[in-house]
Amino acid sequence: MKQRSLRARETTAAWIFVLPWLLGLLLFVAGPIITSFIVSFTDWDLLTRPKWIGAQNYKELLGNDPLLWQSVKVSAIYTFASVPLGMGFALLVALGLNRRLPGLAIFRTIYYLPAILSGVAVAMLWQWVFSPEFGLINTFLRYFSLPAPGWLASESWALPALIIMGLWGIGGTAIIYLSGLQNIPDQLYEAAMIDGAGPWKSFRHVTIPMLSPVLFFTLIMGIIGSFQVFTQAYVMTNGGPANATLFFVLYLYRNAFEWLKMGYASALAWLLFVIILSLTLLNFALAKYWVHYED
């Protein structure tokens, strides 16, 4: 009798503790997910009643929307450039920091600092850095008599500019790699040396496999994050010039909140989900060729 009431008390307490989250899960997650799916089959401007139009939004999205494909292209180029470049530089920084040189703590702080800064203020800063006339980068390039592009004002240089800006924040990834490197047992390197492996071989056959789960994790998170870029594109270029930086989420935002096409915007959100999910699943499928798990 006593035992049972104790158990019942625990269950009651458990539900009370988890109640806010259960409500949140229903109100802000599950409910909106289901609603979003239904809305994606309607024509809805938020002011009048939604009109059921079947798969019309999805048909339009797959066949007849050049701006959508431009936005997919922009986000894809950004992702395929910035994720590998970011991982590469982060790995170099981590390898450098891992040599335990003097000033390690200071270096670690400096490299990490930009990674925690984000948002409009950072966008503002970079807009000034990229200013074609008086910006930091072009001042530097002119000093060495190098060609100084128009950056954000140029159709071909705006996207590369945003990719460069993204590299400013690689410190977070570098910190993750550094802790991964520190977890690799020294015996593995000693064994590799005894087997006659030089620095390159022990990097290739010890460091990379041992670090591969962490590399894999940052690859997945990097892809997810870079497909969701919004603030830079909205603040710095507003998608231009000539849609050269029309990121996917910016296009989605315009459909929803500038043109009040809620149904079409919802369909776009589901397309984004499908894109991210496919890339993630593809990476999981490819993982067996290069990701090495202990035990």
């Binding site: 625990e10 409910g31 040189l101 962490v214 497909f227």
Partner: protein, 278 residues
């Protein structure tokens, strides 16, 4: 052999130093611009150290713009979001990590699965819901959801809570502590790093949030700092007010930089924890 290592170390040190200078240059450039006379901003070659440094640019931010108003809004939203997140997420995590109830693991798995979904999917229905409740153009949509938990932070708390020895909880129970007292007197004091980590992440996320204020706020008096900055950018960019704009941007970044320097240990811990165990 030893010589070769010394040469290697020197090269790596110089490379790291160069990289560090490159990363700091934009911030230094920003600081330099923020201290200039309007006429000196567009000069070639640029002056790195403005003489005299015009610190009054920072005062202008407060007198020329209703910066204090935006600051108050941002502090309120950020503070409430932190309060809500810390309570709701640690409560749920306590339930998931330490209490036994039917359906617990299933609901936890569902919670984790929802993290896969990009936030854009729920954006339109959530907006419609706040239109329905009449909360558009109020600060409420920016922090009320925080009181209803967040899957990622619940996951983070749960990792920490799992690490506390059960014996401590049993001892508390024998002393007659109820579940809330156990949570408050046993769990929270032992997992302060978790609370600090989640508080920092929430602070950074809410302070810098742009999309939320952009879609929910329309009147000027309710703008947050991030939103206000983007409006000034539209009016002044490239013009005579660039030094004020940079001063304002630095003021917005400053709390983040301060939090980073004070709590650096927790940033690294949180980053690595979510990176390695995620």
């Amino acid at each position: 052999m030893k010589n070769r290592k010394a040469i290697g170390d020197t090269i790596v040190f110089l490379l790291l130093l160069t990289g560090a200078l490159v990363l700091l240059a934009p911030l230094a450039w920003m600081l330099s611009t923020s201290l200039k006379e309007p006429g000196d901003v567009f000069k070639y070659p640029p002056q790195w150290i403005p003489r005299p440094a015009k610190w009054s640019n920072y005062l202008d931010v407060f007198t020329e713009w209703p910066f204090a108003r935006y600051l108050t809004n941002t502090l309120w939203v950020t503070g409430m979001a932190m309060l809500g997140t810390l309570f709701s997420c640690s409560f749920a995590a306590y339930s998931f990590a330490r209490l036994r109830w039917a359906g617990r693991d299933l609901i936890f798995m569902i919670s984790l699965a929802t993290m896969m979904l990009p936030a854009q999917v729920t954006m339109v229905p959530t907006f419609a819901m706040f239109v329905f409740t009449g909360w558009i153009d109020t600060l409420l949509p920016l922090y009320v959801p925080a009181f209803f938990g967040n899957a990622f932070f619940i996951f983070l708390f749960r990792q920490f809570f799992k690490g506390i020895p059960l014996a401590l909880e049993d001892a508390a129970k024998i002393d007659g502590c109820g579940y809330f007292q156990t949570y408050w007197h046993v769990i929270t004091p032992l997992t302060r790093p978790a609370f600090i980590t989640v508080a920092i992440f929430t602070f950074m996320g809410t302070w810098n949030d742009f999309l939320g204020p952009l879609i929910y706020i329309s009147s000027e008096s309710k703008r947050t700092l991030a939103l206000a900055l983007s409006f000034y950018q539209n009016y002044f960019y490239g013009g005579i007010h660039l030094h004020t704009l940079m001063a304002a941007s630095i003021l917005v970044l400053l709390p983040c930089i301060a939090v980073f320097f004070v709590f650096q240990k927790y940033f690294i811990q949180g980053m690595v924890l979510s990176g390695l165990k995620g």
